[in-house]
């Protein structure tokens, strides 16, 4: 993966902790990985969406991140591996398995291997390091916790896991409240805990605040560690022009009574970040964001090409530099 060590100068943050969920988060993480060397970036990924399918441990956000950084990601479908086939799933259906969650043949290999290594006693962190390393990814992709935390949605269609809500029910049911089962007994993974201590800047990637970032914040100690962090903390709004760029983030924010806008995102992250990057479409919201105690930064945030992802990552790193926070511990 090409890195450009000269891109970030004297004042740039030495170590960056990126918090991410799936698709949107992985896009910015890819940009960051292209401009920061592995030792300066830790990507911490939500595992609240993890679920067992066919007895196999599936980690949708870890996989989206892994496939994105390895170049395997299927940009057309928005999930899984590009060009994957579905022979295994077709037979599983034939054998009576409940196969509403799409899993391709190559994708299955990830879940089979992950499950095997977990059953051998490795932690999810160790397994993730092994799998991503095998695919040539040099930047650390770290699960938020090695203990299970499961996002549970109470909806007008009943209690649903994240994947049941998102895939089986196509995000249609109205969400009444969300809980993060197991969070109270979870700890930040070693890689996450280390990054929380050593990071000079924290980046909230443009992921769903309730479904991707909130599970990370629900782990005991994480919210306080980020609130009290003295480095630059920058969020990129996943809400652009009154709705999520992708996925149900806007719908859920509305159902939970929040304003579906970058201002609503600012309120979610109040006390957690210093800067909120919003899209040029939302320039008019700058004052309202500032009123929440967060400095607005306006730039193009829609990432379609890899160049878009790199450009936004550069912008975010530039903001961290200009923010004038104590960026180096040296």
């Amino acid at each position: 993966m090409p890195t450009e060590p000269n891109q970030t100068g004297e004042g740039a943050p030495r170590k960056v902790l990126a918090l991410a969920g799936g698709v949107g988060g992985a896009k910015l993480a890819l940009g960051l990985a292209r401009i920061l060397p592995p030792e300066r970036l830790t990507i911490v990924v939500n595992t609240g969406d993890d679920e067992e399918f066919h007895g196999l441990h599936v980690s949708p956000d870890l996989d989206t991140m892994t496939y994105t950084l390895s170049g395997w990601y299927n940009q057309e479908t928005g999930w899984g591996v590009a060009g994957d086939s579905f022979e295994t799933l077709a037979v599983l259906k034939r054998l009576g398995a409940d196969a509403w969650f799409n899993l391709g043949d190559r994708d299955f290999a990830m879940h089979i291997r992950r499950t095997e290594l977990l059953r051998r006693g490795m932690t999810l962190s160790e397994v993730t390091a092994e799998l991503t390393g095998r695919l040539g990814i040099e930047h650390p992709i770290v699960p938020m916790s090695d203990q299970p935390v499961r996002t549970v949605l109470e909806t007008d269609a009943g209690t649903l896991s994240m994947q049941e809500y998102f895939v089986k029910h196509r995000a249609v049911p109205a969400v009444r409240w969300i809980r993060y089962a197991g969070a109270e007994n979870a700890q930040p993974s070693p890689g996450f805990a280390g990054a929380l201590e050593s990071a000079d800047a924290i980046v909230f990637c443009p992921s769903n605040p309730h479904l991707s970032v909130a599970p990370i914040l629900a782990i005991p100690g994480v919210r306080d560690a980020i609130s009290g962090h003295t480095g630059c903390r920058i969020a990129v709004s996943p809400i652009v022009g009154g709705d999520a760029v992708r996925g149900p983030a806007g719908k859920i924010m509305g159902e939970l009574g929040a304003e579906v806008s970058a201002v609503g995102v600012a309120r979610e992250y109040r006390g957690l970040c210093n800067v909120l990057v919003v899209d040029t479409q939302d320039a008019a919201l700058a004052d309202a964001i500032a009123a929440e105690g967060i400095a607005p930064a306006v730039t193009g945030t829609i990432m379609q090409t890899d160049d878009d992802k790199i450009a936004l990552a550069r912008e975010v790193m530039g903001l961290a530099e200009r923010a004038g926070f104590p960026l180096s511990r040296e």
Copy 2:
């Protein structure tokens, strides 16, 4: 599956228990399944070759039998599912898994589903009934035991599992002795035990005596039950013209000091069966077989087409009828 109830008359055995391993056994079992209705045939299959790959429970002989009876079997390769692809295995290799055992994408679905159901607490018998039923197989395919029995070969290349010997080492190492680990603590599966009690005839399919049939006989009580069985017990020799029709049966018999011929097979099955069916090539061995206390029967035993399999099955059932053993318990 077409059955021909008129094919077997008044004196034919009411209930048949077929003992089988993989490929050769499955061929005769297919023939039997084509001429006997499901309630008159129980196919008991060796599970001594079972092994865990990638954390999944693989049952090679059960699968060969299942694929053969469902029409899924890959006749060209002699293993797996016809037309299968290998995407999952390719990625598993990439992920660092030891992938010397070929598993196709459709095949993987069987192992994934089997493993899931076993982990839920179902027995291997229950799982096998579920999987075969889903594939439309009406005849009971029954594992020899629900407890693990593992065929272990002591060879000049070290201690090997059956699949390590057969696939990884291509059956090259010389076999010094064979043991059936766990057999002492195993019981016949409920379907096997029931068939041992109710069968009017027992058929030893043309499977490897040491690697396919011996594990079945190693389960406590089985050898005695078959020895003492008063019905007709017919074996079909897997050795034709001085070697196995397929696989290492002949090589192993020789290495273990046995005569590699239908006479050697007769010695393996002495006291266990009344009739040994040998190929026309081996007609000259009839007297030597009779000298072992087993009635020889000579016919064509090479099964290439389904018609061959049905013809041999008819021959075997006719022998049972003519043997004049107490064929009915009514």
